[in-house]
Symmetry: C2
Subunit: 191 residues, 2 copies
């Protein structure tokens, strides 16, 4: 109870799981930070060391995903066309997401049920799109082409993620991303 802060093994992960359980069981609005901390066997103080509020628990991974995707674009072979550079980055980022499919699926259901969370999700996705366009510009892609490729890439990601999260799990996220990218190309060329 003193001012000593103890390091807790994987505290952020335990808090995320506890929050998701409670949001699913009794609803997002009906859950308090105190209850989340208790369910995780941790203190409120520990909660606030990782998250600004109960909403941010659901968006903790977004910053990490953005970093990975931007890194993936920076690392993509120089000769790749803009949309293919994004495709390569999306596939490279798919691995870690693959491991949290149940979490992702539950998270989607909670967000879909709450307008405030949907707004937050839209803002995070818009920010991600801007970061992808910026990474393409760093590769020398012209401004308009960078914006269009980033939006098309985000569309591929959203469609693929949704299909994967709601699917049977037989196909990997990386595989579904490859398919969706091919489908985007077909759609854009009038296929």
């Amino acid at each position: 109870m003193g001012a000593v802060t103890r390091w807790e093994p994987n505290a952020s992960g335990r808090l995320q799981l506890a929050a998701l359980e409670l949001y699913s069981e009794r609803g997002y609005d009906q859950t308090t930070v105190s209850e989340i901390a208790r369910r995780a066997g941790l203190t409120e103080r520990t909660f606030f060391r990782y998250f600004a509020d109960k909403r941010e628990v659901l968006f903790y991974g977004a910053g990490m995903l953005q970093d990975r995707l931007v890194q993936g674009i920076d690392d993509a072979a120089a000769q790749l066309a803009p949309l293919d550079a994004i495709g390569a980055a999306l596939e490279a980022a798919a691995g870690p997401v693959e491991e949290i499919r149940d979490f992702s699926r539950q998270r989607q259901a909670i967000i879909a049920a709450n307008p405030e969370l949907q707004e937050r999700e839209l803002i995070k996705l818009a920010t991600l799109g801007e970061a992808l366009a910026e990474a393409l510009r760093r590769r020398g892609v012209a401004d308009t082409a960078a914006k269009l490729a980033a939006e098309a890439g985000m569309a591929v990601f959203k469609v693929a993620f949704q299909r994967w999260a709601c699917g049977t799990g037989e196909e990997s996220l990386a595989e579904i991303i490859r398919q969706s990218l091919a489908e985007m190309k077909a759609v854009a060329t009038g296929g």
Copy 2:
């Protein structure tokens, strides 16, 4: 001052212009509905006949635009590919937007300066994207292709609108939409 409601010629248009002037002059947060009504020479009662609150003044045209775009997709020639059907709808809807370029430009600046308004704009755009996908499904386009084409079409619209609103006005919005659609196709095919 009684309960009689009088019809005012183009009251909604006058209120929109008055609101935009005040938001530009003194900021969105610093403006009240009462001030907007006074500037327009109308009553608060009249304001609330058209708009739920001072935020909705800025999004009054969004519903109309959505109706026009959906109608445009319904009207597009049956043999057009999904993205080209959206392109045709965007071009058809460009005319009325063309007439309010100064309004659109000021509106963009006000929204860009306010996170709450940006959220609202993102939600409106997401809703519009869903309506376009639904219109494509009615044409027999498969679900994933409809979503991807709708997102690609929205990207074309956003990029073209921004370029037009910030441009010199020499090129028409319809012309910029055509260019952006061609550029989206080039980007998607690795051009």
